[in-house]
């Protein structure tokens, strides 16, 4: 692929252009056509607010009432509107988008980092001890496939606090892939590295820090990457279900407002947040990787 000299971004731009154009064409509103409708029916539509009377005595669609799927221009306008008040807090549930992004990123980071620390520790322990691995494996196998959202009612009941429950849901989502990969990485460390560590009489901690963790780092990072995606997927419905302010909850608020352009804007922001977090993660991953 790298031999290709065609800049990929040109193709990306073309795809984006075609998509926006297609979206616009599909969602463009035809002018209101009163032909075939009686005066009574027109009055009925006007009464419902679907149409409004224009100055010259005709009718047109009510621009304040959304119909069908909003087009790109509407979503664009919504985006501009939202970004212009990004840092404002207008009410309990009406915080600017910058605040919502901050809430989601903080919630995600708290759950993900806590889960990673726990998962790496557990992974190292069971990776080092085949006995521990075999004895804990049945539990891991049963717990691993449970959707992190399935824990939510139980957690909500136990911790009695939606803020902590949302973080715990992210925690559960991020836990298992890192445990499994760390255990695998640690248990498959080349024997001669461990032999060098034992020749050098490194203490348990030094052995862990200077040999085991660096040697298993590529596998651990691979596990963290899977956990990262799974936690990112979990944070959105967790916010929705718990009513915790954030970009995930924003989609639900906008849905309750029947503001479909707002829903689309929120979806876009979820994607952008994912890209930002992923970028940060990749920078981190590059620090610990090495070529064999």
């Amino acid at each position: 692929m790298k031999s290709s000299t065609q800049p990929a971004w040109i193709i990306s731009l073309v795809i984006l252009g075609v998509f926006l154009l297609g979206w616009h064409l599909v969602t463009v509103q035809p002018a209101f056509d009163p032909a075939g409708l009686s005066e009574e029916q027109l009055q009925g539509l006007e009464f419902k607010g679907d149409i409004v009377r224009t100055g010259d005595g005709g009718y047109r669609y009510n621009p304040d009432k959304s119909r069908g799927i909003p087009g790109p221009l509407v979503v664009f306008k919504k985006t501009i509107d939202e970004l212009s008040v990004a840092f404002e807090k207008k009410g309990t549930n009406d915080h600017g988008i910058a605040h919502l992004v901050r809430y989601t990123v903080t919630r995600f980071a708290a759950g993900f980092i806590a889960a990673s620390v726990v998962a790496i520790l557990v992974g190292v322990l069971i990776g080092l001890s085949p006995l521990l691995y075999r004895s804990l494996n049945p539990f891991i196998q049963v717990l691993k496939p449970i959707s992190p959202l399935a824990w939510m009612p139980l957690m909500l009941y136990s911790v009695q606090d939606p803020t902590w429950t949302a973080i715990l849901v992210v925690f559960m989502a991020a836990l298992w892939p890192t445990i499994a990969n760390t255990a695998f990485g640690v248990s498959t460390i080349r024997k001669d590295y461990l032999q060098v560590a034992s020749l050098l009489q490194l203490s348990w901690w030094r052995r862990l820090l200077t040999v085991i963790l660096p040697a298993a780092a590529p596998a651990i990072v691979a596990g963290l990457r899977i956990s990262f995606g799974s936690a990112l997927v979990a944070v959105v419905p967790a916010e929705m279900l718990l009513g915790e302010l954030g970009v995930g909850y924003l989609t639900w608020i906008e849905w309750n407002n029947l503001d479909i352009s707002g829903v689309m804007f929120a979806i876009l922001i979820v994607g952008v947040v994912g890209v930002i977090l992923d970028f940060g993660f990749n920078r981190l991953a590059r620090l610990v990787s090495y070529a064999e």
Partner: protein, 271 residues
């Protein structure tokens, strides 16, 4: 006076059953009553076919493995755990790929001399970098070094710890023939400069004669043992180019080759 004594070492391995997970109670005797006495400052080589048990013997001396019977005595003390007094140079190099050449050696120096401050550790590390001809490569990670350079790092790491015995496990097997000759001569230079005691295993006859004071010939497993020990009466310094013309060299070489050929037929000795 004996410095390193291998005293009647016998090693049984459990035979695995079909599933490979547990022993069915039967054992396979790899080594049987292996005894060897090594003097201080001696370079001794054990030679035998691949799989004859010579690496098992080295692992027992290193403490990676335990003999079923018998034991290892080093400088008057029995040893059964790995330790800094016996450094191993691995066939696979065993360098940490996430550390530079310098830091690979530094890790060992720091472990061997925990009381040293950072300056002293760095000086000592640099000394062995220079001695092994690694100048210019110290900042590189092993992945970016050739096999020869990697084993120089491996040797520098082992010498830098200044162990009582150096254990070389087919150290040149993965290095191309031309580089091998150069590093063998560097090893000899380091060995005489540091007055180390070296125990090497190999299946390369020329290597054994070039480097060793004594060659122990090992029979094939099961129940491998040291059949005889040959003194290499070739004056040092030796060089690859000149020793091959000596009648003593030819005599030793033929003797070793004859021994290896009479040992089983599953492997041929490298010549």
């Amino acid at each position: 006076m004996d410095y390193l004594t291998i005293d009647h070492v016998t090693k049984h391995f459990p035979l695995l059953n079909g599933s490979g997970s547990s022993s069915n109670g039967k054992t396979f005797c790899v080594l049987k009553n292996v005894s060897l006495r090594v003097s201080k400052g001696e370079f001794i080589t054990t030679i035998g076919h691949s799989g004859c048990g010579k690496s098992t013997l080295l692992n027992i001396i290193a403490g990676f493995d335990k003999g079923s019977e018998g034991g290892i005595v080093l400088d008057g003390k029995e040893v059964d755990q790995p330790g800094l007094d016996r450094m191993v140079v691995f066939q696979s190099f065993a360098l940490m790929p996430w550390l530079t050449a310098f830091n690979n050696i530094r890790l060992a120096v720091k472990a061997a001399y925990p009381s040293w401050d950072e300056t002293k550790v760095r000086e000592h590390t640099q000394k062995y970098i220079d001695l092994m001809g690694l100048k210019g490569a110290e900042g590189k990670r092993p992945t970016f070094l050739s096999g020869g350079m990697r084993q120089r790092v491996g040797l520098a790491r082992a010498f830098a710890v200044e162990p009582k015995v150096l254990l070389l496990d087919e150290p040149f097997a993965q290095i191309d023939a031309l580089t091998r000759g150069v590093i063998q001569e560097e090893l000899i230079r380091m060995w005489s400069a540091t007055q180390s005691t070296v125990f090497m295993v190999t299946h390369d006859v020329d290597e054994a004669i070039l480097l060793s004071d004594r060659i122990a010939l090992m029979t094939n497993s099961p129940e491998a043992k040291i059949a005889e020990c040959l003194d290499v009466n070739i004056p040092r310094p030796r060089s690859r180019a000149t020793i091959i013309d000596l009648p003593e060299y030819t005599r030793l070489r033929n003797h070793v080759l004859h021994f290896l050929m009479t040992q089983g037929s599953e492997g041929k000795p490298e010549t």
